[in-house]
Subunit: 204 residues, 2 copies
Amino acid sequence: MPQGKVVTVPDDGLSTRQRRNRPLLVVHTGEMKGKSTAAFGLALRGWNQGWSIGVFQFVKSAKWKVGEEEAFRALGRVHEQTGQGGPVQWHKMGAGWSWTRRPGTEDDHAAAAREGWAEIRRRLQRQAHDLYVLDEFTYPMKWGWVEVGEVVEVLAAREGHQHVIITGRDAAPELIEAADLVMATTKIKHPMDAGQKGQRGIEW
Amino acid sequence: MPQGKVVTVPDDGLSTRQRRNRPLLVVHTGEMKGKSTAAFGLALRGWNQGWSIGVFQFVKSAKWKVGEEEAFRALGRVHEQTGQGGPVQWHKMGAGWSWTRRPGTEDDHAAAAREGWAEIRRRLQRQAHDLYVLDEFTYPMKWGWVEVGEVVEVLAAREGHQHVIITGRDAAPELIEAADLVMATTKIKHPMDAGQKGQRGIEW
């Protein structure tokens, strides 16, 4: 399997080593659910490197994507018990952000989304995690609940070695522009086209 | 976030429930490494459902993609120790298939690939796993080591409820045709374009 080849060497005054270790802003966008799946697959590698993983799901329902959540919580316990891998924190807007005392966020999604982003900003400031997965975070930006310009500014100014992965459809052009790596997942063929509904273990 | 909508209801004599539970052949193809990452992300969901996961990596080097492997091996141990999730088996061509006595396969990749496929065929026959990840398996087909027509035939005839995910570039048209779900990951922007080399935790 071919290793990726470097096409151009930029004139940015950085050594290959410095560039190699630059923290990345990754955006997974496109039409399918594969976006989050690929982000969590990537997070497996970070976990194995011993990184602190922070997942923030900007979804309305508390029940979404329980498969990945359970698996990562299990990996977090592996770390606590054996020291293998890294610590894992998993926070969900729909269940009420775990750092607040409020039980749920059914009433005001916009306020809940802003609260989530404010906490991420604080954590970036104190370099709380090595890898942040901001799942479905494009939507609060799309709907104007969180200002994309501010997000890009905060991410650009983050210190240390914090990787950030943002998933969701319709990523804003400013976000694409700011990102180091942008991936899009395209459906070529899907069972729903043939009248099949989602099934346990595959869709969630 | 919208649930997938069924576009047409096929006239195949199956109930929605029967169609819903049909085992899937999934192909992740396209230009980037996100293919395998997304397949392993999907396997997290299956693990959480208590499925038996069998991973078969058709890669030449024993060192590839160690991040996901270590994480899934940890999840397999979680299952053994606590009963959570499902059992995990991880086999790698480059390390010498673990069911053979031979130490490595550096000499004859074609024979090693055929040996891997023969074992998968036997496991499908006895319904050994609920989810098979055949990582980079498009290449042995592309290079003519394993006959794509036979693969499609064996997969079409598999019994029970065995899901199969195949990853790799240049999936054969017959395989695409036979698949229920085909996903392609497209690079919109990649750090290697800007002269950055791969880094630990992100690329492997």
